[in-house]
C-alpha cells in the first residue's frame, strides 16, 4: 500500500528578529499509511507542531519550508500555491487545535462553525451537513447530539468543546486529521472521554491521524507508531509497543524514565523524644471564595469549603484535584492573597491574620509561594540579580557585596550558572525560569513553600529535574512543601501525604502510597484510575463505574 502521507527530508527555517536564519526542522522523513495514527512526541521546541502544520502546507509567521517535500495524498503541500492549499485544507487534511476554547468564535453558534467547511468547499447542502454533524456528535458521544449544535461555545464544557472541534475537523471527510495536543488542557477524568471518542471515531472512519503530544501515556493509548523528536531531528521511530517496552535511543529512554519518577522515601523527621511533632502549618476549617460577602459571611462563590489539615515540619503535603476544585484558591488563602472568609491559619503554632497586609514581615518571610507560570511570576523588566536581590534587601537588609554573594549562593542552590544573573527572564528557558522562581522563594529563608502547580508548564524531563531539586533543597535546608498539582505521579514523587480535593472540599487525606487504593473515597479512586498508564491497552481495558463517572466527572 502506498503511504498516504510521505514526508521526505523536510527542512523548515525560521527568521529571527535580528534577521538570522535558524533551521528548526533539520531534515525529517517519515510516512503515514492510510488509517494509521502516528504520534509526534517531544518536549516543547522539538518541532512537533511545526512538522504537523507542514501537512497543511502551513508554517507559523517567520518560518518557511526550505527543503524537502510533504506529500499528502499525492500532492506536495510544500510546492502548492496558497490557493491550491486552501482547496486541500479541511477536505484532505484537517486540524484539531490544542485550545478548542480559542478556536471557536464565541459569537457564533457551534453548528454554524462545525459545518463551515462544507460551506467553504461547497460539499453538501446545509441541511445535509447538519445531519452529518449530528451523526458525528453522536459518534463522539456528546450529550444531546441533536441540540448541542444550537448552543454557543461558552455553554458547553471544555471536554465537550474539544470533541466539537474534532467534529469540525471531521466533517469534510479528510484523509488525515492533525491532533495538536488536544487533551493537554483537559482534566484527567475528562481526557479519558475525549480520548475514547477520538479513538472510536478514527477507527470507524479509517482516517489517518497525526497526534502531537508531549505525554507518552496519552500517545500510547491512541497511536500505532511513535516518532520521537528532539531539536527538529527524529531520534527514533517505532511501533508504539516497541517504543514503550524497548526504546533504543537514549533520549527515548530518558523520556520514559522521567515518566515514572522514583517515589519518595518517607521522611524520617520525627521528634526523637517521642514528643508530638510541632505542625508548621495548621488550617482549621478554612473557607474562601470570590465575590461579595453574603449575609451569612460566606462569599458569593465559595471555592474552598471548610478545609482543615496539619503539616508537620520537614514533611510535605500534596493537594490534588481537577481544575476548579479550589486547590489554587486554597494556596492563595494560606498566603493571604485571597483572605479566607472563615477559619484560622496557624503558622508555627501562632495564628496568622487572614490578609497578607496585616501579617508581620517575619510571617510573610517564612511562608513563600511559588506560582505555576514562571513567565508571569518573574518581572520581565528586571534582571535575575534584581529579582533575587530584592527579597534579600527587603527581608534581610543585605546590601552590596553581601547581597551579591548570597545571590551567587542562591543560584548555586538551584543549580544555575552564576553568569545568568545579568540576564532578563525572557532570555532563560522554561526550566531555568522555574529555578529562578524557586530561588526567589528561597531568598526569603522560608520555613514553608507553597508550590502551586510548579511543574505543570514544564516538559517531563525538566519537571523531573525540578522535583529532584526540591528534594535536594529539603534535605539541605529543612523546608516543608505544600505541593499543589493535578498530576498524581508528581505529587507522589515528593509528598508524604496527599489530600484530594473535590469542589472545594477535602474528600480524603492519605499517605501518598495509599491514594486511590480500594477503600478510599470514590472520587479519589475515580481520579486515580483516570491517570493514563504507559500500557497501550490501558484505555481499552479500563472500566469505570458508570455511576461514579456520572457523579463526579464533569465530562
Amino acid at each position: 500500500m502506498n503511504p498516504l502521507v510521505e514526508i521526505r527530508d523536510l527542512k523548515v527555517e525560521a527568521t529571527t528578529d535580528a534577521g538570522r536564519r535558524v533551521e528548526i526542522i533539520k531534515g525529517v522523513s517519515f510516512e503515514i499509511a492510510p488509517g494509521e495514527i502516528v504520534a509526534l512526541i517531544g518536549e516543547s521546541g522539538s518541532g512537533k507542531t511545526t512538522i504537523a502544520l507542514t501537512l497543511l502546507g502551513y508554517t507559523r509567521t517567520g518560518c518557511r519550508i526550505t527543503g524537502g517535500s510533504v506529500c499528502v495524498d499525492g500532492r506536495d503541500m510544500a510546492a502548492l500555491s496558497e490557493r491550491e492549499r486552501a482547496k486541500v485544507r479541511g477536505v484532505a487534511v484537517s486540524y484539531v487545535p490544542q485550545s478548542a476554547a480559542a478556536a471557536f468564535n464565541p459569537a457564533q453558534r457551534i453548528m454554524d462553525q462545525v459545518i463551515e467547511i462544507t460551506r467553504i468547499h461547497d460539499l453538501m447542502p446545509p441541511a445535509e451537513a447538519e445531519a452529518k454533524a449530528v451523526d458525528l456528535f453522536r459518534a463522539l458521544s456528546l450529550p444531546s447530539p441533536e441540540t448541542i449544535g444550537g448552543r454557543y461555545p461558552h455553554q458547553v464544557s471544555g471536554g465537550q468543546l474539544q470533541r466539537l472541534s474534532a467534529a469540525m475537523a471531521l466533517i469534510g471527510d479528510p484523509k488525515v486529521v492533525i491532533f495538536d495536543e488536544p487533551t493537554t488542557a483537559l482534566d484527567v477524568t475528562t481526557q479519558i472521554e475525549v480520548l475514547r471518542a477520538f479513538k472510536s471515531v478514527m477507527r470507524q472512519s479509517r482516517m489517518a491521524g497525526v497526534y502531537v503530544s508531549h505525554d507518552l501515556a496519552v500517545v500510547a493509548q491512541i497511536a500505532d507508531r511513535i516518532v520521537v523528536l528532539k531539536g527538529g531531528v527524529i531520534q527514533e521511530i517505532g511501533a508504539t509497543a516497541q517504543i514503550l517496552s524497548a526504546p533504543k535511543h537514549p533520549y527515548t529512554q530518558e523520556l520514559l524514565a522521567a515518566f515514572a519518577p522514583p517515589g519518595r522515601i518517607p521522611a524520617q523527621v520525627t521528634s526523637p523524644e517521642g514528643a508530638a511533632p510541632r505542625p508548621v502549618l495548621e488550617l482549621t476549617s478554612i473557607s474562601a471564595g470570590y465575590g461579595k460577602l453574603q449575609a451569612d459571611g460566606t462569599p458569593l462563590i465559595l471555592a474552598v469549603d471548610k478545609v482543615s489539615f496539619k503539616l508537620e515540619r520537614g514533611r510535605n503535603l500534596g493537594i490534588i484535584g481537577e481544575s476548579g476544585c479550589g486547590k489554587s484558591t486554597l494556596a492563595r488563602a494560606i498566603a493571604g492573597i485571597i483572605p479566607p472568609s472563615s477559619g484560622t491559619i496557624a503558622f508555627d503554632g501562632k495564628p496568622m491574620a487572614p490578609r497578607a497586609q496585616d501579617r508581620s514581615a517575619d510571617e510573610l518571610r517564612k511562608l513563600q509561594i511559588v506560582f505555576q507560570s514562571a513567565d508571569t511570576a518573574l518581572n520581565p523588566a528586571q534582571s535575575i540579580a534584581d529579582i533575587l536581590g530584592r527579597p534579600l534587601a527587603f527581608f534581610h537588609g543585605l546590601r552590596g557585596v553581601a547581597r551579591d554573594t548570597r545571590i551567587d549562593r542562591l543560584l548555586e542552590l538551584v543549580h544555575l550558572p552564576r553568569a545568568l544573573k545579568h540576564r532578563l527572564p525572557s532570555e532563560l528557558s522554561g526550566g531555568q525560569k522555574q529555578r529562578v522562581n524557586l530561588a526567589r522563594a528561597l531568598a526569603a529563608d522560608p520555613g514553608l513553600i507553597l508550590c502551586d502547580e510548579i511543574t505543570s508548564a514544564l516538559d517531563t524531563v525538566v519537571a523531573a529535574a525540578i522535583i529532584e531539586l526540591l528534594k535536594d533543597l529539603q534535605r539541605e535546608l529543612g523546608l516543608s512543601y505544600l505541593f499543589i498539582s493535578h498530576d498524581l505521579t508528581t505529587v507522589q514523587a515528593i509528598c508524604d501525604e496527599v489530600a484530594v480535593m473535590y469542589r472545594g472540599v477535602k474528600v480524603e487525606q492519605l499517605p501518598a502510597d495509599q491514594v486511590g487504593k480500594a477503600g478510599g473515597h470514590p472520587y479519589a479512586r475515580l481520579l486515580m484510575s483516570s491517570v493514563p498508564k504507559l500500557d497501550p491497552s490501558w484505555l481499552d481495558k479500563l472500566e469505570r463505574d458508570p455511576e461514579l463517572v456520572a457523579a463526579f466527572a464533569k465530562r
Binding site: A18, L364, S373, A377, Q382
Partner: protein, 285 residues
C-alpha cells in the same frame, strides 16, 4: 538539567540590539534640531525679535530675510527661531506636568484599587468631561495669560487622558503573578509602582507622552491664534500665524513659515512615536 545547560550561551551573544528605521531617524533629527534651536535661540537669531529691520511689511523672501518680514517689518526667521522656545518649552513643560501626574495617579489607582481607585477615576472622568478648548479659553480669560498659567492649564487639561491610559496598562500588569509576589512580600505602594509596574508599561507610556505633546502643541498654537496664548511682543508659532494672518491675501511667507514650523514639529513627533527603535528579540538557540 541537560536541557537547561543546552540553553546556556554566552551573554554577549544575547545582548539585544535595536533597529531604528529611516523615518524614525529623520523625524528624530527634525525634533532634535527644533530642540537645539529652542535652547540656543538668542545665539542663532540673525536679528532681534523686536527690531523693525525692513521698511516694507510682509516682505518677500530675500537673501537678507530668508523667510521675509512680518506685518511690522520684523525678520520672520528670527521670530520663528525664537518662537520655537515658547512652543517647544511650554508644550514640553505642560506634557511633563500632565504625564507625571497622570501616570503616577493611574498606576497608584490600579495598584491600590478599591474606593481610592473609584473616587479618583470618577473625579478624573468629571474633569475630562469638560471640553478642553472651552476650559482653556475660560481659564485663560479668567486668570489672565502668562507662561506659567498656560503650562499649568495645558497640563491639567491633558492629565485625565494620561491617567486613563496609564491606569488601563497598569491594571493588566497588576494582575501578573510577579506583582502578587511583591505584594505578599509586604512591598509598599511606591516600590510596586516604581519597580514592578512602571518598567513594564514604559514603552507605551512614552509613546503616549509623545502623542500628548503633539496635542498640546496644537492646543497652545490654537490658543495663541485666538490671542489667548503667548502675549506680544513675544510670540510662539501660533501667535505668529495670527499676527500675520493679514498677509494671507499677499501670499506672504510670514503666514506660511510658522504654519510649516508647527506642522514639521507635530508630524515629526508623530512619526517618531510610530517608528520608535525596536528591540531586536532573538531568543532562539
Amino acid at each position: 538539567m541537560a536541557i537547561d545547560a543546552a540553553n546556556t550561551t554566552t551573554a554577549s551573544q544575547r545582548r539585544a540590539g535595536y533597529r531604528f528605521n529611516l523615518t524614525g531617524w529623520i523625524s528624530l533629527i527634525v525634533i532634535l534640531t527644533w530642540a537645539l534651536i529652542a535652547i540656543l535661540a538668542p545665539y542663532v537669531t540673525p536679528h532681534g525679535i523686536s527690531d523693525i529691520v525692513d521698511t516694507d511689511y510682509f516682505g518677500p523672501m530675500s537673501r537678507q530675510f530668508p523667510l521675509g518680514t512680518d506685518y511690522l517689518g520684523r525678520d520672520m526667521l528670527s521670530r520663528i527661531l525664537f518662537g520655537a522656545r515658547y512652543t517647544v518649552g511650554i508644550s514640553l513643560a505642560a506634557t511633563l506636568i500632565a504625564c507625571c501626574i497622570g501616570v503616577t495617579l493611574g498606576m497608584a489607582a490600579a495598584v491600590t484599587g478599591g474606593w481610592f481607585d473609584t473616587a479618583l477615576s470618577r473625579f478624573i472622568d468629571a474633569l475630562s468631561s469638560i471640553p478642553s478648548k472651552l476650559f482653556a479659553l475660560v481659564a485663560v480669560a479668567g486668570v489672565g495669560s502668562s507662561i506659567p498659567v498656560l503650562m499649568l492649564i495645558l497640563g491639567i487639561i491633558y492629565t485625565p487622558g494620561s491617567y486613563r491610559f496609564a491606569r488601563a496598562l497598569a491594571v493588566n500588569v497588576n494582575t501578573a503573578d510577579f506583582v502578587t509576589v511583591a505584594r505578599i512580600r509586604g512591598e509598599k505602594l511606591s516600590y510596586l509602582i516604581r519597580a514592578e509596574i512602571l518598567p513594564n508599561i514604559i514603552g507605551p507610556v512614552l509613546a503616549d507622552v509623545g502623542l500628548r505633546f503633539v496635542f498640546i502643541v496644537l492646543l497652545l498654537s490654537g490658543l495663541s491664534f485666538l490671542g489667548l496664548g503667548v502675549q506680544p511682543p513675544e510670540a510662539d508659532w501660533g501667535s505668529l500665524v495670527r499676527e500675520n494672518i493679514g498677509g494671507l491675501p499677499f501670499g506672504s511667507p510670514a503666514v506660511m513659515a510658522p504654519s510649516f514650523a508647527i506642522a514639521s514639529l507635530t508630524i515629526a513627533v508623530n512619526l517618531l512615536i510610530d517608528n520608535l527603535p525596536q528591540k531586536i528579540r532573538d531568543r532562539s538557540e
